[in-house]
Amino acid sequence: MNKRLTVSLKNGDFCGIREIPSFSGEELSSVISQSAGEGMRIVSFFAVPLPKDGGKLFAVLADDTHGVLYPLASAELKSYPSVTPSCPQAHLFEREIFEQSGIIPEGHPWLKPVRKLMKNDSFYHIDSDEIHEVAVGPVHAGVIEPGHFRFQCSGERVFHMEIALGYQHRGIENALSGTPGLKTIHYMETLAGDTTIGHSTAYSMIIEALRGITPYPRAEAIRAIALEMERIANHIGDLGALAGDIGYLPSKSFCGRLRGDALNMTAEICGNRFGRNLVRPGGVRYDLDRPLSEKLLAKIKDFRNDAVQAAEIMWDVPSVLERFEDTGIVSKETAARIGMVGPSARASGLKRDVRSQFPTGAYRFNHVPIVTYESGDVFARALTREMEINRSIKFIQDLLKNPPTSPLMNDKAKNIAGDSFAAAMVEGWRGEICHTAITDKNGGFARYKVTDPSFHNWFGLACCMKNGAISDFPVCNKSFSLSYCGHDL
């Protein structure tokens, strides 16, 4: 372990802002590179801009083996040596730092916008008569969010694909400074609307850490049940969409319907299919009483039987396997170097799962084994989803059968700690969600940083398309199933 990492935090913990070790730009850059070389990961890296010019940098590194987070900070600076050349997982964080604060990561190989729209001539371009360029988006053919993809192709073969996002930028981080206020929880719930439980739980953990309160076990159990419901709904939906993308209609139809059933189970708990209004700092707003638990147990049993069948029939069809296997491969080495998270990382053989490695709440007592697969192709990402559905169902069933008894809301009135730094991670269905907050002396947010798993993983999609066929793009894209709004904020 790097000796200069003097302060460590558990997941969902906080410390005084002045306790965080502070480095010069050069030192910070080398500490991050060195730690990444020793197997740590960057879970968050951002700037707190100063009113005039420049700002301070903050980073959170994760040690997966020991389940510990290390916060780092820099002195005030206007530029620093880029971490990216030695540690590619930093590349998008550093682009974001530059865009948000003007701080220059010197030596960054591709310092382009993250959320400001790119100019047409600023895309990577291969100059040759044999190369044709394909531009897709922002308005797509399906009912999905906007993003732009630029391909450099020779015939079907993709030499390079560049992803340009930012179309969904709604200014959430700006709106969060000075809060929490009435709208804050709703920003969290709509950061990525399909990950409402994931983001609202991470935010609640931040507030609970800063207020020094712990939610009661029953509330923690209901949060975990809702988080796993969110996972199974999205996973089964994506399996169906994958089947649809290659024209295998039975699984598409069955899984599409099953996704609705899973969303409806969440609606039985809180009235909303996406888990809106359920998780609040201090606990949850709705209880799961005995009759409702039994109703859900019966529903989830039917769901499990139908889901297993709907997914399994795909694996017997050679034309399905032919499209999924060896398509869009991300090797374990690449996945580790670019800092991938979630099921896409696990499908490339990386053991990364907040639920096991940084457990909080109900996950401290009920474990979900990490699913991994080695091949890193579309098939692996689909199979990982299917296996995760099974394990999540088991987890939900165990908790529904034996829910802890306690009140739902711990609303002891305590102030939010001022001049503090808090970090919280949740394993959302797409992977690791990280929220960090820095408070001012009155306990308002001086900076609130959200890192959606998609922020880590979009580059994985670009990597998996290299030398692939452009007609495989839809199925590759769906196998990652990344968030546009979670990235764009």
């Binding site: 709106a175 709208k183 950061l191 069955f254 319907r257």
Partner: protein, 255 residues
């Protein structure tokens, strides 16, 4: 082959009978706000907890603007007089913004398209769906109408891949500034006559993103809107019912 036939039998017939009979909604579903203005004693507690400023205290009592409401039901929870209750009524939506303001009166169904438009679109209507800052919840519940549970195609309504093949747009999100140009271009690409449907609180009023410099604050800031469907997100049944009312496909009750 046999396995997939077996699966087809096991997975059963799943299309809901709506609009012949009503769907089964979850018990805790928060639908259309039902107001009892006569119970209100103007304490304004509800106004102070509303995150989007949807509630107004008027001379005749309280109103909730469902263009802005995100159905968090904080107002119903805090109201000491039970003047606000979120009912399980999923039928919502209006052709004009004024029709979205709830004041305790009975709901007027959405007016159907005029005869000429119905002749054109009544039996075949294709939409291009554009997300412009939507959080993927409205998008998901629009998408779900295409699944076998709702089977939108049985009403002759479907989603087209290109705006040039579409009869109208369904727009979600507060229209982020970065999507403004793309939305306008997509609208231009749809041949006349065309209709625009705004889905969800963000598309109706900007929702919680109203006032952000990064958004336009709703679809009607840049396009004429023919149908507003409230919710955060609207339940798929709310969207389906509104589309069918617009096409005059809902059997009218009481004659």
């Amino acid at each position: 082959m046999f396995k997939s036939l077996r699966a087809r039998i096991d997975q059963k017939y799943r299309t809901i009978p709506f609009p012949i009979s009503d769907p089964v909604l979850p018990e805790r579903y928060t639908g259309r706000p039902a107001l009892s203005p006569e119970k209100c004693d103007r304490c304004s507690e509800c106004v102070s907890v509303c995150p989007t400023g949807a509630i107004a205290l008027r001379k005749k009592g309280i109103t909730i603007d469902t263009a802005r409401c995100i159905f968090c039901a904080e107002c119903a929870e805090i109201c000491p007089k039970d003047a606000i209750v979120f009912s399980r009524e999923f039928r919502m939506g209006a052709n004009e913004k004024a029709g979205l303001i709830e004041n305790g009166a009975e709901r007027k169904p959405i007016s159907a398209l005029n005869k000429k438009m119905l002749r054109t679109f009544g039996r075949s209507l294709k939409f291009r769906v554009v997300s412009a800052g939507g959080c993927n919840a409205c998008e998901a519940d629009i998408n779900v109408l295409g699944t076998i549970g709702f089977d939108l195609d049985r009403f002759g309504i479907s989603y087209a891949a290109s705006p040039r093949h579409a009869d109208g747009l369904i727009v979600t999100g507060p229209i982020s500034m970065n999507m403004k140009e793309a939305v306008l271009k997509t609208y231009e690409a749809v041949p006349e006559p065309k209709i625009v449907i705004a889905v969800g609180a963000c598309a109706l009023s900007g929702g919680i993103y109203a006032g952000h410099a990064e958004t336009c604050g709703g679809v009607d800031a840049i396009l004429p809107v023919d149908l507003y469907i409230p919710g955060c997100p609207p339940h798929p049944m709310t969207i389906l019912n509104a589309l069918l009312e617009l096409l005059d496909r809902i059997p009218r009750r009481n004659g």
